[in-house]
Symmetry: C2
Subunit: 357 residues, 2 copies
Amino acid sequence: MKTYRVAVLSGDGIGPELVRATIPILRLASHLYGFELIFEEALVGGTAIEATGKALPLETLEICKRSQAIFFGAVGGKQWDSLPPEKQPERAALLPLRKTFSLFANLRPVSCYPELLDASPLKPQIASGVDLIIVRELTGGIYFGQPKGKIYTEQGEKAIDTLVYETSEIERVSAVAFEIALRRRKKLTLVDKANVLESSVLWRKTVKEIAKNYPDVQLNFMYVDNAALQLVLKPAQFDVILCENLFGDILSDEAAGIAGSLGLLASASIGSTKFGLYEPAGGSAPDIAGKNIANPIAQILSGALMFEYSFQEEEAAQAIRTAVGDVLKEGYRTADIAQDPSYICTTEQFADKVAQK
Amino acid sequence: MKTYRVAVLSGDGIGPELVRATIPILRLASHLYGFELIFEEALVGGTAIEATGKALPLETLEICKRSQAIFFGAVGGKQWDSLPPEKQPERAALLPLRKTFSLFANLRPVSCYPELLDASPLKPQIASGVDLIIVRELTGGIYFGQPKGKIYTEQGEKAIDTLVYETSEIERVSAVAFEIALRRRKKLTLVDKANVLESSVLWRKTVKEIAKNYPDVQLNFMYVDNAALQLVLKPAQFDVILCENLFGDILSDEAAGIAGSLGLLASASIGSTKFGLYEPAGGSAPDIAGKNIANPIAQILSGALMFEYSFQEEEAAQAIRTAVGDVLKEGYRTADIAQDPSYICTTEQFADKVAQK
Ligand SMILES: CC(C)[C@H](C(=O)O)[C@@H](O)C(=O)O
Ligand SMILES: CC(C)[C@H](C(=O)O)[C@@H](O)C(=O)O
């Protein structure tokens, strides 16, 4: 039987309860579709800082290295906000994980389940039909560019960050985006700020070159300010959105807003092998942690993405997505997106219902 | 009689027709409130490129210098898209204007006229009560930081942009934002990415210092990705949003989306004197230029901002805003935001109605 090893990094806040609720669903799907999953847990984030002093202990990295995928919960919380930024759970865990495993492409699909149009802040006629995916470059740009730091001047301080991209970094993530576009509606929008940034000029040039290998994909360009506007005005116009690291960070959260809740959206971070990191788009939400009320949909759908991208188990992935849709159709919701109090369920109850499907 | 000189830079596309429709309103308001306006026209943008070879001719700069404010239309169009970015109307006209006159603070008020909740893509219960203003730093950051350019490497090219801020640049725009907050609901949100960017760390530190001079203003911090999300989910939570140049560019267009149309929003770019540049948030919209159908509201409200910030003629400014609201209450709309065909009016008709009020 095919066997896949998964490193389970539940992290902080609602991470552990979401992961705990989701694992049985993944196991069940694996049995139904004839493959086996071996889960190995490891510490990450604030929880890891408490236990080992580090947000990403060496042992965790070892466990990830001997796995085919990382199933990630969430990291961060008020307790660690006073640490210097580079030691905080988010930055000290996520950024090195991305770098170590060269996870240069972050995929964030956004669509509105018809049953959940209520949850969207947009009018139903604007939100319906939204089905887009953001492909964000994840290991370059202003997150990692050097020099980065501060100097003291006569008048005060001066702080510097550097946005840098090389042709090859743009090429590899663009290829991922074009391949995805081929399997979808074949429309790709490069979002940049080529009227101001030199790096964006290089993005445009490089993506135009790559596009020659994909004559069936329709390529267009949009400035990031206009994209932020269009995502609110007419989100259904987009199919695949490709962008550099920081623009992708901003636009994918904005796009999540369209769906009405970060608790609904999954994300995959992949590289040039099948190895990937799968996590819900939301954060650790310390305010509702431990209450068994968090929405597990994003975590469950992250599992589906893992099946699809790291294991090529597409039927199992689709079965999970259908099950989530079916439970929503029956009216069940966690409290964050519930309209009718009699259909409110806990994290666990919702996950159980998905498993039953 | 008090007299104010205004440089009128109508520019391209719908710019000239919007400015033409608005000038009579400004004149009328000046007569009613006892001051005089001297308008002097000057070329800018693509129109200026055609006539002189330059998007911002020296003569235009001279005219601006002997004025107390610049009343700006819009620049840009397909004809000039093939020029190198640094020669295109937008970049070659707007960026040097901002730099020359040290217009370091861009103010973009966003509110939804109750009559226009229809126009918003957001559900009425989300859009109603939105009344925020974005204060964007406008002469620093990654727009101007050096080095900026590209180099050839063995594998291809490498492009670099530099995001740099000094304490003093942050201080002066923050003071503008706090002063504005004092005259409003006294809430200021600094939007940054302090978990990744050194420049954002400096912003937080500097803004915290300035805040000590404004004990009545409640200051909070938000990461830019979360701000992009919150603007869609709960825009009414914001009062004054302060941010660096590029984040402000992105968020102000997103916030414009909330109002439903760029055609509704005005903007002011100011410095440490009373001199300012006033322009609608929208672009030159070449596709509808010359048809007398563009929405003049943003241009008209830009005039009101000019009265307020450059001339301290607050009553005249308020009169214009009230007049726009009254015409909207009567049901009149330009085609872009119209619901009822029998109340559609042209650019000129709408402006005439405002003037009558
Ligand atoms: C926590 C932070 C460093 C991170 C990022 O900006 O990449 C987060 O916002 C994300 O999108 O995963
Ligand atoms: C045209 C462009 C350079 C400009 C900017 O990015 O500042 C525009 O988007 C704006 O916001 O005025």
